[in-house]
Amino acid sequence: GESVGLHLPTLSVQEGDNSIINCAYSNSASDYFIWYKQESGKGPQFIIDIRSNMDKRQGQRVTVLLNKTVKHLSLQIAATQPGDSAVYFCAENMRYNTDKLIFGTGTRLQVFP
């Protein structure tokens, strides 16, 4: 299938293990953060979000952690499955423009049996 990117940072994990994908954001004024999953040939798909007044938010099998001190965001995926294989992007939302998303570079997650 098509490839979103050929030279992305890649994380390889075994099926069933936990995955941690990291992201550094740039603007200390950002107050809303989103993780997107992008499969080959598809557009980004919303996974989970977090506001800057929180440092942790949990969803189904996913957890987002926010460290505003060092401007760091992470996505944890529990019991990683083959269907989790994709490119993951973090995006930040600028406080003064609530509709403008700034996307990070992306990390490719590969799940092997």
Partner: protein
Amino acid sequence: EAGVVQSPRYKIIEKKQPVAFWCNPISGHNTPYWYLQNLGQGPELLIRYENEEAVDDSQLPKDRFSAERLKGVDSTLKIQPAELGDSAVYLCASSLTWGGKNEQFFGPGTRLTVL
């Protein structure tokens, strides 16, 4: 409910030719966006609308790119003339604002190859 629809999915043209992309946002959403995604990178905003008004087009190369909101629903993005460096995936998104936050839903994109 259908998601964001884009067409065509793929387009191959020669440089200096015009090209147009079409987007049908999710029904009920009033804010379509156009993004450009280069290989290995995250999407970059080109233009976004609120209803019929373009409210952020600072990243749109206006000498060759233009966008339109058609009858308040569909949107088109046009490049004339296309250059080799325009080869990329063009993503359309639409948004629904609720609970004080804005959630964007992306279409599958149009992959443009300029030869």
